[in-house]
Symmetry: C2
Subunit: 415 residues, 2 copies
């Protein structure tokens, strides 16, 4: 299968992009292809990479907002989540994948229960996913042991297409035993798999850790050998200078979730400048859409820039070009994917943005427009792994996914 | 002319809305109408009201971002603005109106040069506008006198359709002489017209005012008799408790511009809770889209909520319902319009939101979804002053508006 995107704007020039199987083979090529996509009036950008999600939580979108974190989790989210089945997770993840595709995201890093449901949803959606085997043991040694066994089994048994990568998802220092964290690190080193983790989202997490271990979270994780370049940590808003240095030295990747951090009011903003200077790769996540409430990475790019500017009192902070890289190339780097740029030899994850829209008129600066003016609604065409999975704003079967998700929710809350 | 919106969701119930001429005449009516709009799968909400814009600045969208305010204004925006003609303002405002209609805004309060260009653009767009005669004299007494004369002439001479209201737009305390401010107050009282003003956007404005007058801005404005219920003030981020009390007592209206405040990094966030407790009407503005960079009020509702939560460390601040009212009924109140709610006898400014979208699925809570999940792209149909000005996401002649705006920009920067 081959695809030729004709007459499309790429880095300011009109050109064509030739895709063979799942790879970009020619920029400016006029090769014959099995399928031609009309790129006129559209800009080609790399598919966006969302490095922190809980995809199936689309089912809880709008279910419980404007609450304090603990009340939100304990009284609303956790009781609802406890009822979820693998089929629920399948349809919740399908809905998430649909929303991501429609808003230009071609890969996401997902921590959620019922891994098999998520894997099947990603396969059926045509998107790319890094899907985690989750650990939350709340320091119960038996549960911890069971989860390590389950993770080991899942990592071996779950077979999936080339668009799916399996990874480990130990939840956080306040929910997972040290033994399991160390096991995850060893497993990750041995099998070269990613580890996805929540880190320093709230002041309470830091205070509790100091009380328990005498160290701040990153110092504690360093002391048990948990840090490393395979580790992707979401949030990272409460870090001191020493922790930022440790993260830079160990090659840990950060997934910044500006919208979730603002909505749940985590009390601090990620210090992008310090992380950048320490050489830390900072990418973007939406977080689960129950705390956002969308999966639109255009919005996250803009909110990342807005939050840095207002919080640190400097409108030159996180300029558009850097926010755009956070949403694309830095995400690909974090997830070790050969995507995040449109270049020959890269995986063909390509998004076409419709430029004939009032909010993208006039055309002074495309990157500024993408970050500050565009929303997911500007996405016209999406190619993932060489397949056209959306064209002219339409995804095959989208109505069924929405209807089934709606049905699942009706059923879930009547159980 | 009459319109019947059939089978539409209104406040949680499926019903119909009958519109005759420019007024809502029947909720649940099955009257015969000249035109029927299919409301199935859509929710009816009041058209949004944007209470602070500089509409023609769409022409500078993306032209100069990520800069400090003074550099942005002095080196980029002001030199470009100096070249604008009435025709440029016409097309810039047309582009703004198109973007507003497509994103569900039916009225805006606009401060910009070349009033006649803006008036014609609003007439031709089918939207509703409060359009200002601007004053910026930089304390040159001759200029100030000229501008008062011009304002008086414009308020008398400019004839416009019923959708246009003329108002006075003295820019700010740091650009307009006291004499002109007092003149504006007297004129406003005598002719019952609105006054649109920038207030306490930056710390520098407050410091300069204290140095010059020995008073903070609101105290100074109170001392010269400028405050009153006809005054709509944009920004209002640097206020102390006494100023907030004065604003409540005098009935001054506030236009909160969260996205612009974040992007330009004004260093403080509007204190919504204190303003609310003082009884101040707080509505929402996008500001000019060169400092935003969109006119999408859905985004402004969400950003208002996010900013309150993160800045004041409380996720329960500005819940969805209040953010939604800021974007609709409070805006109507600020501009003294009989819109902002869908009720019999009100002006027919109605927006239909398409609910069959992934980001609005499932349907736990419509108001949460409108504020936290929707974007302007969810708008399907717009009725303003009883006329259907957008249906199925399409506005007549939208391509021409975008092309002409693009042409104007090309020409402007080659002059």
């Amino acid at each position: 299968m081959s695809v030729l995107i004709k007459d499309v704007l790429l880095d300011g020039e009109e050109t064509s992009i030739y895709v063979e199987e799942n790879t970009i083979r020619g920029i400016g090529s006029d090769a014959e292809a099995d399928r031609t996509v009309d790129g006129r009036g559209k800009a080609a950008i790399p598919g966006m990479v969302n490095t922190h999600t809980h995809a199936a939580m689309t089912l809880f979108r709008g279910y419980a907002d404007d609450l304090r974190l603990q009340e939100w989790l304990q009284e609303h989210i956790w009781p609802a989540e406890a009822k979820l089945t693998e089929e629920d997770v399948y349809w919740g993840t399908r809905l998430a994948c649909l929303e991501m595709v429609k808003t230009g995201t071609t890969c996401f890093n997902d921590m959620y229960w019922h891994l098999k449901g998520a894997v099947k949803a990603v396969e059926d959606s045509g998107i790319r996913g890094v899907l985690n085997s989750v650990f939350i043991d709340k320091f119960n040694k038996e549960d911890a042991k069971k989860q390590r066994k389950q993770a080991e089994k899942e990592m071996k048994d779950v077979k999936a297409c080339s668009r799916v990568t399996l990874a480990l998802g130990p939840h956080a220092i306040y929910t997972v035993t040290e033994e399991s964290l160390q096991w995850a690190r060893e497993y990750s080193d041995k099998h070269d798999v990613l580890v996805h983790f929540h880190l320093s989202e709230t002041a309470k997490e830091v205070e509790d850790c100091k009380e328990e271990t005498g160290m701040r979270p990153v110092e504690y994780l360093d002391s048990i050998g948990f840090l490393g370049p395979n580790l992707v940590c979401a949030h990272c808003v409460w870090l001191d200078d020493r922790e930022i240095r440790l993260m830079g030295e160990s090659g840990v990747k950060v997934s910044h979730c500006p919208t979730s951090n603002m909505k749940l009011s985590v009390g601090e903003a990620l210090d992008y400048e310090k992380l950048k200077h320490a050489g830390v790769c900072v990418s973007l996540g939406t977080d689960g859409c129950a705390s956002n409430n969308t999966l639109d990475m255009f919005e996250s790019m803009k909110n990342a820039a807005l939050l840095q500017k207002i919080w640190y009192g400097d409108p030159t902070r996180l300029p558009a070009g850097e926010a755009f890289r956070m949403g694309t190339s830095e995400g690909a780097k974090a997830l070790k994917l050969d995507t995040g740029a449109i270049e020959e030899g890269r995986l063909a994850d390509i998004v076409l943005v419709d430029l004939k829209r009032p909010e993208l008129t006039p055309h002074h600066n495309l990157v500024s427009d993408l970050v500050y003016s565009a929303s997911g609604g500007c996405v016209d065409t999406v190619i993932c792994d060489g397949e056209v999975i959306m064209e002219n704003g339409r995804v095959d079967g989208e109505e069924e996914v929405m209807e089934k998700a709606e049905e699942i929710v009706g059923d879930l809350f009547s159980r």
